[in-house]
């Protein structure tokens, strides 16, 4: 079985000419199915760029990046969208739609595949898992910051993604809810084989990680397994 993420010699830069800025230098990386991987590094080290490339949110400029068996270098928009539909994103900002209820926002993670029977029930189950069953009809304006973030996490997970890309998902959560989210992601990794790549500075999460990658100046400089 091929690894869901296999990166070789990945370079990336922004701008052109004198203003060009190279941010990734020959990154090599393999992540196996079901692994819970934490990505650390100082600001500007290239974590976010790596995450957005692997999440098909940017075009790969140089090197090879195989995600779920699809080579991203040279992949067209349709191919990248097809991959994005198989992965889940958790952003720092919840970006919930203010006109939709919590349940409707979660359903957006499912409706991308078309109107499915049982979508409402699936959304309700996912909110239940995150302790938000009683908030299903609430709009974001009536939810706390932590609740909004959990709704966003539910939206990312409801479609049973094969990979989850998460950027500081617990930054807006208190200790209890932060751990709830990490444990959920860890459980999904174990039960469904979901691969998780999470950028975080939260030391509490390190105990849950199968691997910890550290980036510096556009390179992965450390790859450790804490257990």
């Amino acid at each position: 079985m091929t690894d869901p993420i296999a990166v070789r010699g990945l370079d990336h830069g922004y701008g052109q000419g004198e203003t060009a800025l190279q941010v990734l230098f020959g990154v090599d990386l393999r992540i196996g199915a079901g692994q819970f991987v934490v990505l650390m590094g100082a600001s500007g080290s290239g974590k976010t760029t790596l995450l957005s490339l692997l999440g098909c949110l940017r075009e790969v400029q140089a090197g090879s990046a195989l995600v779920l068996g699809q080579e991203l270098h040279g992949a067209d928009e349709a191919a990248r969208i097809a991959i994005r539909r198989r992965v889940g994103f958790i952003f720092q900002a919840h970006n919930l739609h203010d006109s939709l209820t919590a349940g409707q926002n979660v359903r957006m993670g499912l409706d991308v595949h078309g109107l499915l029977p049982g979508a409402d029930a699936a959304a309700a189950r996912m909110l239940d898992l995150l302790g938000l069953r009683d908030r299903i009809d609430y709009r974001p304006a009536n939810l706390s910051g932590g609740q909004k973030q959990r709704v966003a996490i539910a939206r990312a997970l409801v479609g049973n993604p094969e990979i989850v890309f998460a950027d500081e998902p617990t930054a807006a959560l208190d200790r209890e809810n932060g751990l709830l989210v990490v444990e959920l992601l860890r459980r999904l990794a174990r039960q469904r084989g979901t691969t998780t790549l999470m950028v975080t500075h939260d030391p509490r999460i390190l105990d849950y990680a199968d691997r910890i990658l550290t980036m510096s100046d556009g390179r992965i400089v450390q790859d450790t397994s804490p257990k």
């Binding site: 949110l57 952003f91 957006m108 709009r139």
Partner: protein, 394 residues
């Protein structure tokens, strides 16, 4: 609200995000609907006036007891053509298939009111021994018209108190001055005013020539012809055109004459052009208002749209949201626009006597136009969707 949401979800095959966005921001929705309704009102009023212009042009033609009209070759309307030789009437009457022919003289007077204001009134001079007009009131009063300086007035003449007409019908003749000649209005009839004049007065051809001293009995404005029963009117008109082909007159069926007049007045005269331009401006106002609302809505949701793009929604999904909003705004804004327009039509028709009425075809055309207008606005607003970049979310 939930029922509408569920219905739209079924129709669209997805959550009706456009509807949910619009109804979530009620104040913005109300503003948008007021804007669309206002644009509709503008368009309806312009089309209403345009329709009234077209309808009022046909009124005097419909009032003539005629199948065919002989008028000057330079005539576009009943008022603007040169007088024609009276012997054309005699020539036309001799053509097989023509049952009768009568000449009509046409002029305009200024009727000064007691309050100093002036009414423009078209004067029709007819032969009191012929039945030039269909009006039964005119037919009944033809013997009176044969008397010198006697006139009948159209009850629908604008800005004249109805009580005056009632008094005239009650036998109290009313004297007016026309071109410095005293005229007695002895009766009324019903025709209806247009945009050119406030109303009509009918007199005998002899009285007409006394009012308009520079006019000649040998030069009427047009000749009305009746075809024999069973005669094909267009074919007869063609034969008459061939027979009278001297270049100074043209023969038209009444339908052709009306069409010619309407075409001229709606495309060559200021009123028709202004109403057409007004319709365009109304649509433009609607496009700008709807665009403004939709563009603001897109701008307010760029982060959410970028998130949806990251999830895997395609461009057509976002186009669908914006167009869904556009159609909803168009349809919901149309309803108050139509209701206000119906009210204004009634008020203006009562005040001016213009034939201003709503037709189903016009209402449906404006609804379709409103939806098209909204969709155009939506398509322009979707350009902002390109700014929703999922790569900026991390």
């Amino acid at each position: 609200m939930r029922a509408v949401t569920a219905l739209l979800a079924r129709l669209l095959g997805r959550q009706p995000i456009g509807w949910l966005q619009l109804t979530h921001h009620r104040a913005r929705l109300a503003t948008a609907l007021a804007g669309v309704a206002f644009a509709n009102l503008l368009v309806f009023m312009q089309l209403g006036f345009f329709g009234a212009l077209v309808a009022s042009i046909a009124i005097p033609y419909d009032g003539m007891n005629s199948d065919i009209l002989v008028q000057s070759s330079d005539a576009n309307t009943l008022q603007d053509g040169s007088p024609i030789p009276r012997n054309r009437m005699l020539q036309a009457a001799a053509v097989p298939g023509v049952a009768s022919a009568t000449a009509v003289y046409c002029g305009r007077i200024e009727w000064k009111q007691p309050d100093g204001t002036v009414r423009n009134v078209d004067v029709l001079g007819i032969d009191p021994l012929a039945h030039a007009l269909r009006s039964p009131e005119v037919a009944r009063q033809l013997p009176d018209l044969a008397l010198a300086d006697i006139a009948l007035i159209d009850r629908r003449t604008r800005n004249v108190p109805l009580a005056l007409f009632d008094e005239i019908d009650a036998g109290h003749a009313y004297r007016i001055e026309a071109n410095n000649r005293g005229i007695t209005i002895a009766g009324t009839f019903i025709l209806g005013g247009g945009f050119g004049a406030d109303g009509y007065i009918v007199v005998s051809d002899q009285t007409f020539l006394r009012i308009f001293r520079n006019r000649s009995a040998g030069a009427p404005n047009y000749v009305l012809l009746r075809a024999l029963p069973g005669e094909a009117v267009p074919a007869l008109a063609a034969r008459l055109n061939a027979r009278l082909a001297s270049g100074d007159v043209v023969v038209r069926t009444m339908a052709e004459a009306v069409a010619k007049d309407q075409e001229f007045q709606t495309t060559q005269k200021p009123a028709g052009i202004i109403f057409g331009f007004g319709t365009f401006i109304g649509a433009l106002v609607g496009i700008v208002i709807v665009y403004q609302i939709l563009a603001t809505d897109v701008a307010d949701h760029l982060k959410e749209y970028a998130t949806f793009k990251a999830i895997g929604y395609r461009q057509r999904f976002f186009l669908g949201i914006v167009l869904e909003e556009a159609v909803i705004l168009g349809v919901l804004g149309f309803v108050p626009g139509l209701l206000f327009s119906l009210g204004l039509y009634a008020v203006i028709a009562a005040a001016t006597g213009l034939p201003l009425s709503m037709t189903m075809a016009r209402a449906l055309a404006v609804l379709a136009g409103t939806i098209v207008m909204s969709v155009i606005s939506g398509l322009i607003a979707t350009r902002r969707l390109a700014q929703a970049d999922p790569a900026e979310l991390f």
